[in-house]
Point group: C2
Chain length 502, copies 2
Amino acid sequence: MPKTTFEKLKEKVLEIEHISSAIGLLDWDTNVYMPPKSSAFRGQTLATLSALVHEKFLDKNFEKLLMVLKKDFDDNKLPEDQRVFVREIYRTFKKEKKLPSEFVKELSQAVSEGHHLWVEARKTNDFNLFAPQLSKIVDLKRQQARYIGYAASPYDVLLDDFEPGLTSEQASAIFYELKKFLVPFIQKIVGKNKNFDQSLLSGKFDPTKQKELMHIVAAKLGYDLEAGRIDETAHPFMSGMNPYDTRVTTHYLEDNFYFAFGSTVHEVGHALYEQGLLPEHFGTPLGTSVSLGIHESQSRLWENLVGKRLAFWKYFFPVVQEYFPEKYNKGNVDDFYQALNQVQPSLIRIKSDEVTYNMHIIIRFEIEKELIEGSIDVRDLPIIWNSKHKEYLNIDVPNDAQGVLQDVHWSSGLFGYFPTYTLGNLYSAQFFQQAKKEIVNLDELFEKGQFLPLREWLRKAIHQHGKLYTAAELCQKVTGEALNSKYYTQYLEEKFGQLYKL
Amino acid sequence: MPKTTFEKLKEKVLEIEHISSAIGLLDWDTNVYMPPKSSAFRGQTLATLSALVHEKFLDKNFEKLLMVLKKDFDDNKLPEDQRVFVREIYRTFKKEKKLPSEFVKELSQAVSEGHHLWVEARKTNDFNLFAPQLSKIVDLKRQQARYIGYAASPYDVLLDDFEPGLTSEQASAIFYELKKFLVPFIQKIVGKNKNFDQSLLSGKFDPTKQKELMHIVAAKLGYDLEAGRIDETAHPFMSGMNPYDTRVTTHYLEDNFYFAFGSTVHEVGHALYEQGLLPEHFGTPLGTSVSLGIHESQSRLWENLVGKRLAFWKYFFPVVQEYFPEKYNKGNVDDFYQALNQVQPSLIRIKSDEVTYNMHIIIRFEIEKELIEGSIDVRDLPIIWNSKHKEYLNIDVPNDAQGVLQDVHWSSGLFGYFPTYTLGNLYSAQFFQQAKKEIVNLDELFEKGQFLPLREWLRKAIHQHGKLYTAAELCQKVTGEALNSKYYTQYLEEKFGQLYKL
């Protein structure tokens, strides 16, 4: 039987996805095992494969097949799985086609140079070293928005790359609501002047033991180590190459085992999503995660709502005691739980607590939106950065290295990425609220070390669908409501209200 | 300035080479760190990238550029670096073009299935399980030879993939000479009935300590660990992705540290070649090794001529004593050297000693040549295998798992590969003889732990040239003579004559 148009296009899409899988491995290796001298060559290999992906999308034959199916799509003649396929592939194709190859190359070079200068600028605490290149990157990102086209704001275009369908206006409204709650809430907590004993988190923790413990924790949460692995890197990340190869990394600090613990649980949360995608849909939209916001909802649900929960620690504290008896044999789970949940406005996003974290994101969102819309200038970033930290968190930023230069994202051209972190927090609370309704006695299960019921619930409700639904549709379907910050603020109020006796 | 035809073609070749680099990493990862469940997906990713390479070679534009340069080549109008480039790229292109994509796919599937059946057959000691698929693979390899075309023997075509320019007739002559020497030489040694104390090689060796030692040895031989790394796999190998990323693997046995030691020195020998190629020629023939035979000459030179030499151990035995004092503090280097160089006809090629090793290769060469020429049948392989072992090595083969099924090569379609192992031995002796002439007091340098002079000599004489010379030209240039077995047989006679007092 001759192949159908759909089958032919799917073959071409799978080819692209296998190239992307190879890119995934090259990226993973770059961060984990690549010999240091190889970085320039590696950059060229990655650039070559990325260009190939662009080339494959723009192939005339690819376009012809896609256009035939797009017509069927518009005429409502496709079965549902093909509808989703064509909807998503066309979405990507349209963007790829609008970007001239020369522009893609220019952006990629600017970003590569930008990353390099950012590393230097952060090291030497010299924003001016980075500023001209950042201006160039911002200009190129604005140019990208013009190529793609937009109605309201150029920032919409960039946001759409990470959170398809979400507009700046919607994001602004959500973050505005959240800020209105968070700023006074944080002040209230800080006003209590309550310090949980942070020395409970520090000590001396053998990395080999930590590593063993992390493998046990990951497996306990339902991470399939036969289809993944845990390695060590400076900055933890998750890399999903296919449903049977989804790797996480962590970082072992000798004086604080919780850094590795928390980051492992976070990355395993991401990995469980990838491992929950259906292998038969590999490489197609039905086998791909919905958006970064939904992805982050999974990592943050496990890291925070589960992993910083008393019931979770009722099970894991005795395990940790077994691994580090000198430190914890005399401790108790309640003190440990409190120490873990100390709220304290601080300078560095990735080290901040569950509550103030979102203010870091809101600050970045407000700034990058205005940058892309052209209402503020790169030169003024440090002043704006510092004044927002003072205003929202009552924090003085001592220098740019610990201020506006702390994150890698802008140097890599990732504008529109930050909001997905807080969207993830909002989604995570809304999903978790639903999970608690549908799974009987969830906390009792956690106390007994039973985490698979939650993983199964997430698989059924979210993972297995791939991109069948958009983020908005999925949220509606799973929780019966559109995304809103109510569940998240309720969660914070309840948890930290108890902890801080507000 | 507009790009020249040469520059345009070079860009396209580099694109292919970067895809090949990615394939290299995928292969490495498959053997080292890939989660077990991912193997089917990995196979598809590899197949996709391999097909891309074929596609890029057959691209019309590629051919057009190449043909313009080929004409200049034929008219003797190219500078030397471009001559080599066009000579080699055209050589590969011609072959790729002659093989229909359908055939490439069929062979790749047959080989993948063949490998799978071979694993099963070896496990269950059942040659018949593997035989039909092996017949199919042999047929396809014969078909490949017909597609490419040949004058004397279809085996010439296959040999040319691994040892460009070498014909079956030349190989037969070389191996015939060698066999005439080896068979009686081995009989003479065996007749001495001399057993060096093999217990000196066994004991209990902490793998962590072995690992540390291997890194020290590798660095001492001049392997740049900033441009490479040492990992552990079941079967050691070297993977050269670019001159700044050339990795080796080894395998630590708890009861015998020399397995890891010898295999590390062997793979480091390969890696030194890759690290000695000039980075500015990456991806072009001038930055690529000459042939498998020349590659193997480097690994075997370091593993055997250097690594099983008394002068080498005068330096390294005290180092080993430091690492494993319980075992070696009372030992002495002479006994250790003898134990290392025990000659004993045995069943398994990869475990055999320096002298009998070549008989294993000669047996395989004789058999595979006749298989491809069609004068013997796959069904009769076990009988032929066993009778040759009896005739040449006076060994009884107890079963096919330890006999004809022991090697992976045929199941992977690698006919014409085995001879390069022994060619490597012959080249290694001829090169080493020259090195000893040109480097003053080489053995004294070794005794002092100075191995860089030899590495530098090899770089200058061999590595840095890439494919500037063919194997035959290189041998002539370096040693003043064509390849011949004289130096190798002299080396064996001298070394083992002393050891066995022949």
